[in-house]
Assembly symmetry: C3
Homo-oligomer: 342 residues x 3
């Protein structure tokens, strides 16, 4: 089970109830009222635990598992151990996510403002929000209801934060509006000056960056990531977008709904990501481009052109992913041919 | 106009005065005393606004713009709409930067030291400086006049900061001297231990890093970037150098005047950048190299050798940029040839 | 000598004593009781200083150096200037590291808890630890003896920190156990939520991340690096591992003893690094892989497969390093051939 120093477990929860939460069908359940105590991986689960199988690499573990219940796809139902109850669904990982959230709900805000926090008299804090030690909230800022603002966070003047949003330790926000139910992790920087200046041998001259950052609802931003404010238009992070750690988002970038940006990737200024674009780890996207809906950018690639909706690209400069792997195969053949000649 | 929660606009400013600020020639102005209220992009500007044209991609917008005035190159002057006054200059973006700064000057320091700041009795703070909430200033540190030190900043023992410098929220500085008129953005780490140790299977042994970081005047350092102190010699960031977000500068690195390092790039220990070198996004430069004056390193490239003054390189390992693009074209031909064979 | 604002020098130390610290043999020493005052590079050292030669590039400097003593390999002993005492060892850099530490020991903790720190009543702080200004220590946290916790650090609920560990300014730790004698640099984020969610067009669903981070003894973590907690198993950073700045470690990653991860590198979830693996700057390692003992990953490479013990790889996708350099040579020949044809 999860370390009780850090995690509070709810439950137990009956199989019947878990099936409802999972949105799956209960099979092989001798007793639908059986109480399940915890979630656990297949190889460590016992009769009080529920586990899941999402990757056939682990099907051996599944067939030998002592888990009391397991969430699986229909095709694996027949291989279950004799005493295992099943929750059958075409999307077991998604179902498991919901079940695990039921056992381990997010820590709720502990309402109140720590005595060491410095909150400007003109700022407004919504009901039930927790303002941690040494937090600073600037003039005119508004924080919604039920927010958790961890210690050391700096909320700049005029910033708005929606209900139920969680800001991690030592993050700082300026020139921005953050939606509801967002998770902004420790050390994130939002609203910083875009990298805009006119180059001049006598000294580069800053162009005032007069836009803001708009973070829509249900966005997650990983630790120490940075999101610059717009130069004139705003920088926008769309509804439900997931950003990992150490990601850089330049000024005027707009992401659509449900985009995913993995660790250490970066998007340069004014580029548009339509809905559900995935940018994998350490990939870079140049400025002033459009990545179409559902485009997928492989890890470590460097994108220098628009990417069509649904297109998958890899390499630097990025090309269609099949072409990239054919190119890699070609290199390998060329190297072997050279061996033969020697 | 810019969001008044975050930006204070100066003005209005007469066309005549704007032309002086821009260093351009006023053309087609029926009334040089016309008062301009704001800067605005071409497609949103009205008769009270001034805009600029720097990229011919936007020349259609320019020909249709309702802007009262526009900053343009001489070649575009003839295409202006009938009622538009012009400020003509060979460098419209630079001119616009100066004009925009006149309308939106940097926020001035609000003199005083917040009651929650912890400033050592032996530290000195210059006249008119603003020391934010929860700032910590160590023994013997000296902060110049007219500085803005945002909340949560930690200024280590003995650190010196020049006049008019702005340090963003939750940044930390140690073992360094920072010049005048610098902008150090939120979360920046300056003066951290260089990555120096003697490898040993019994346990790597740290080599004390006994140098400092010297940041010259008018330097900008982007959010969450890191600059290690020297191992013995100092790490030096030259006058007017611009560093973007999440950039890593290793120990003993020296940059010249006016260098530009774009987001997520990195320079390894003891490498020298002469004046006006540009390192584009996500590029990496190995240690103990010299990049000559005006060298340009393309995005995502990996530099493993010296680069001559003015040379432009791309790729990993980096090669002359034309060679890199010829190589990419060669790959494309090889892939096509293989298609034919199939 | 090192800037006295930032560094406190111990000593002087006799040659005899230095030889003991270095673990080397004293040669050419007219007076073993000669007092040495400082460490210094060859080209700046005087008769009171000790220097070292580790790289034959600097052998000219060595032959002309005025250093009173020098740490060298046996093969260089004969070339020493007439008045130079020698400490002879097969590992001069390692020996120098130990000597330099004797002259410049790490600053000791100044016991006590700053009045502005917020330490929960249920937290425990070991003897002789220094808790800086505006530090926050959560409920149930335990900090060992002789630790230095710099200003602005946030230690989350239940976190344990071992004896003699140093945490840099504005770092934050949650869901973790940190060993003894570690150096966690400014802005580091430990224990943040892993990037785990089930993708769903209706809104990605977070998978609770129920593991912790375990940092073993003598680990160093560079400025602004991020280490996510495990999803179920823990993320583990092994004994004596050295991590540079802006490095990203995903959930469930395990490193062995003495690994080295250079600046801006990243390791994706569930990958295992056996002992003494080196991941060079800006390299990326995909998830669910194993890098065998002593494997070396070149800078900027992208690893998409397991790497055998002792194997050296480069390129993206990574291949054996010799193959990579043969490939680069092949490209160069192909480009030249094309020139000829023109």
């Amino acid at each position: 089970m999860a370390d009780p120093r850090f995690f509070r477990r709810a439950g137990p929860i009956s199989l019947q109830k878990i099936a409802e939460i999972a949105g799956g069908a209960l099979h092989h359940a001798k007793n639908p009222e059986l109480q399940i105590a915890d979630v656990s991986p297949l190889d460590r689960a016992g009769p009080d635990d529920i586990s899941f199988l999402d990757n056939k690499r682990y099907s051996d573990q599944y067939r030998r598992s002592a888990a009391g219940a397991c969430i699986v796809e229909p095709t694996f139902a027949a291989q279950a151990p004799a005493d295992m109850a099943l929750i059958v669904t075409p999307t077991p990982y998604l179902a498991f996510a919901r079940v695990a959230q039921a056992f381990y709900p997010e820590a709720a805000a502990r309402p109140g403002c720590h005595a060491s926090a410095v909150v400007d008299a003109s700022a407004r804090i919504g009901e039930g929000s927790e303002i941690g030690a040494h937090v600073v909230v600037g003039a005119g800022a508004e924080i919604g209801a039920g927010c958790r603002i961890e210690p050391g966070v700096v909320v700049g003047e005029g910033v708005h934060i929606g209900d139920g949003t969680h800001i991690g330790a030592n993050a700082s926000l300026s020139h921005c509006d953050v939606g509801a139910c967002c998770a902004i992790h420790p050390g994130v920087r939002i609203g910083t000056r875009g990298f805009g200046f006119a180059m001049d041998p006598g000294g580069h001259v800053d162009v005032p960056q007069l836009g803001t950052v708009v973070i829509e609802d249900f966005v997650e931003i990983g630790a120490n990531s940075t999101i610059d404010r717009g130069a004139g238009p705003d920088t926008v992070i769309g509804y439900g977008t997931k950003i990992d750690n150490l990601v850089q988002i330049g000024h005027n970038v707009r992401t659509g709904k449900g985009c995913v940006l993995v660790g250490q990737s970066g998007v340069a200024g004014s580029t548009v990501l339509e809905d559900f674009v995935v940018v994998a780890a350490q990939a870079g996207v140049a400025g002033h481009l459009t990545l179409g809906r559902g485009a997928q950018i492989a890890a470590a690639s460097g994108v220098m052109r628009d990417v069509a909706p649904g297109e998958k690209v890899a390499g630097a400069p990025a090309m269609p992913v099949r072409e990239f792997f054919r190119l890699v195969a070609l290199w390998q053949r060329q190297l072997r041919k050279k061996d033969v000649k020697k």
